[in-house]
Amino acid sequence: MDIRTRERGEVVIFDIQGEIRRSDISDATLHQLVKNRLDAGKRNILLNFEKVEFIDSFGVGEILASYISTQNLGGKFKLAKISKKLFLIFQVTMLTKVLEIHENEDLAFKSFFKS
């Protein structure tokens, strides 16, 4: 898994690449990276899954932990371009009702500024 962080205006975008698996645990997990940004005062977090091939339950746990941390600090947390399969998993687990999911980065970005 490779995660690159960039900022677009007030939104911190995490471009995730590869697979998010329990077996690929590195020093900096997704949640850790998101927390670092939150600690730095950022409150708008967007995870871009455009180049993610696979995500397991551990990966979902990382997303949810990041969501909780962002919510706790009153921030906004959004997802973009997730795979059909992950969307389906989110539907079955009702996470589509909790997480804000957008079809692409632009739509997600714009949604940060809608009231």
């Binding site: 059909k84 969307f87 389906l88 539907q91 009702m94």
Partner: protein
Amino acid sequence: MTENRLYEFLSRFVDIRPPEARVSLLLFLYLFLITFPAYIIKPVKESLLQASFSPQWYPLASLLTAVLIGFVVSWNAKLLNRLPRRLYISSTLVFFIISLFLFRLLLTFNWEGLRLIYWFWSDVFIATSVTQFWIAVNDIYNPHQAKRLVGFFVSGGILGGICGALLALILPKLIHTENLLLICPALLILTLAVVNLLYREHPEERDGPARPRERGRSKSGYLESFRVVRRSRYLVLLACSLASATIVSGVIQQQFLTITRAFFPDKDERTSFNGAFLVGLLVFSYLLNLLITTRILKKSGIKTALLIAPVFLLLGSAAVFLVPAALMLGWAVMVKGGEKSFENTLSQSVRELLYIPVPANIKYKAKTFIDMFVNKFASGLGALLILFILNVLQVGYQQLSFMAVVFAIIWIGLIRLIYGEYINIVKSDLERKWENGDTIVDEHVDVDMTRLVFDTIQSREKSSVLYAMNLFDLLRKEKLTPELKEIIACKEDELRAKSMGCLLDVGGETFYPEMEDALAEADVKAEIEEILTLDSYKKVMEDHLEKTVQDGQGESTVTRMEAAKVIGMMGPTPSAVRNLRRLLQDESAEVLTYALESAGRLRKKELVPLIIRHLGNPQMQQLAGDTLASYGVKVIGALREILQKRDENLEVRRAVPEVLFRIGTQKAADVLSTELGRGDERTESEVIEALFKLKSKETTVQFKGEKILEAALLQIKKGYQGVLEQNTPPPAADQIVMTAEVNNRLVLRIQKIFELLSLIYPLEDMVKAYQNLCVGTKKAIDYSLELMDNILNKDLKQYLFPLIEDLPVEERIRRCRRLAKGLEKLAP
């Protein structure tokens, strides 16, 4: 005498139904008219033999019959199989009439060989005519009818015997022994008339032999009769039992002859004693039959009736060693008198009853073979054994009792086996008329799955999330078959047609195409299962649910449905249970449906009172019951409390027994049994039904016999009250009423009684008996009654039968009134 008057007259002496009166009288006359000449022919036979041969040759006459009877059986079996019944019996009677004239004519020539032939002929006459009479009874009546009426017929036979024996005693001095034979044709001509009247009442199409087309194919004759008997364990047992009885009878006869010869050396004194003994025996038999036969058959059943004779003879034969020589004549009269009296009454009657449930196609072949051949063969075998014991072993007549004791023990053992087979044969004549509806549904329909499929299809149009969750549930339960996917896909196509794209958007909801296939992938399924257990997932969902559910009715119904569904998937966290409690009180039936399903998954005790409440809601009752049943034994205590609370909502209480049935454990059965004992009429019906269903489903569950018996007697008592309440104080015969309403209530009461009886008696027997009583043919109804008569306990059947027997209304009321007091003591 009109039919009705005849019934009224006969009903004073015998337990008879109006349609049976005329035929029963004819059968009474039939047996009277063949026994009458039989008791003339028999003494003539013995007298002629005694006049021509010395005593040591007497057994040879029996051996002659044993050897030759096989030919007669073979010929008789052919006639029986080929001729219509009326013609078969009539032609045989004509043969006997003609041969009687011939014998009278030829006996003037004083040929010794002819006397032996006459001996054999008279054995054939007695065996054939009596067998034919019982064939007629078998043609016309079923076991239950015959059991009521057999005593009546036998009394006709004994009266005939008394008349014949009296003539044989008085007339020889006036008209000579040989001329006695001329009385017999007149009696047999009358028999001929009775037989023809009888079969006019009961046409042969119903009960006669095989129809013409079948006759050609059907085998007959001695060998075939032998094969028929050999193929059936029951018939083999019957044959062995009769053989044992015949051998015991032979021993007793030998002992009797020896003792009377010793006590009465003078021939005339001996003849006089024999005549007096015969008349006394028949009078005693008549009284015995009048007082005991029907009573024993009705009250104690076939088994007791079968056992009385061999037990008596076993004890009587053994007693010979205790009796002083001076009292030996008394012993001989008692044992021989007892043996013949039982043979004339109880033993013969019961033996004939045992043939009735045998299938008609083999019954008659077997019956003639056993009654004629086996009987005479056993008699010959017994004679050989006696000759061996007396002449080779050279022991006295007392020691012959050892032989009688051995064969009486064999006889008793055979009776035990016969009785078991008899019940099986009666059962095999009954078939189930319908299957229990619940059982069929349970076997063929997975109600939970069906509900889930409907939920899935319905949710498709409401919420993609709900749909996905339902689909996942189907997958989890491994119920998403290709056929089911096809059904669901039809609905999906409609939706897909509305919008195209990678993720479809229908009515604001986003759908994922081929969702079913994607979900079926093993890794997806596993991932979802794991996500549901994540702490982070639970935290996120709990927060979401707190908001959604707390807002309560503010949120849309669909949102609350989703919330209710997901709680069941995520597991029993305190927050989930708290939120589910709220959802279980939701106003929407759709939300409640999902909430109850989830409650069934979480199975938390604190949810039980809320679920129980829904048992009173007709719309939710079934699902609430399912939910509670899924708790299993944990919920039994709560259900018991509700069931016992008299002030609880009655609909809720009435729904509880069904839940206990579905839990289906011994504890659930005990709660239901206890509630039954409390005698709450308002829930009684549901409790009994639940107990019955429980017994049908869980064969290992045990019920307390005494409690159930008490409850059954209580139901019988209520049945009596129903019958009597409209007729108290006793009205005049023409004012007796039995309204449709009373009758309907009685029908329901009988159903309850049978449901209770199935808890303590074999379920299948009770179900068959009940169903055949309800919708069976006349014959099936009587077979049901016969089955009940043989398996129920004495008290129970005594009180139950007035409710289930096909009785005239006034007779039912009369019996209920007579038995009501006794019942009151048993079921206060």
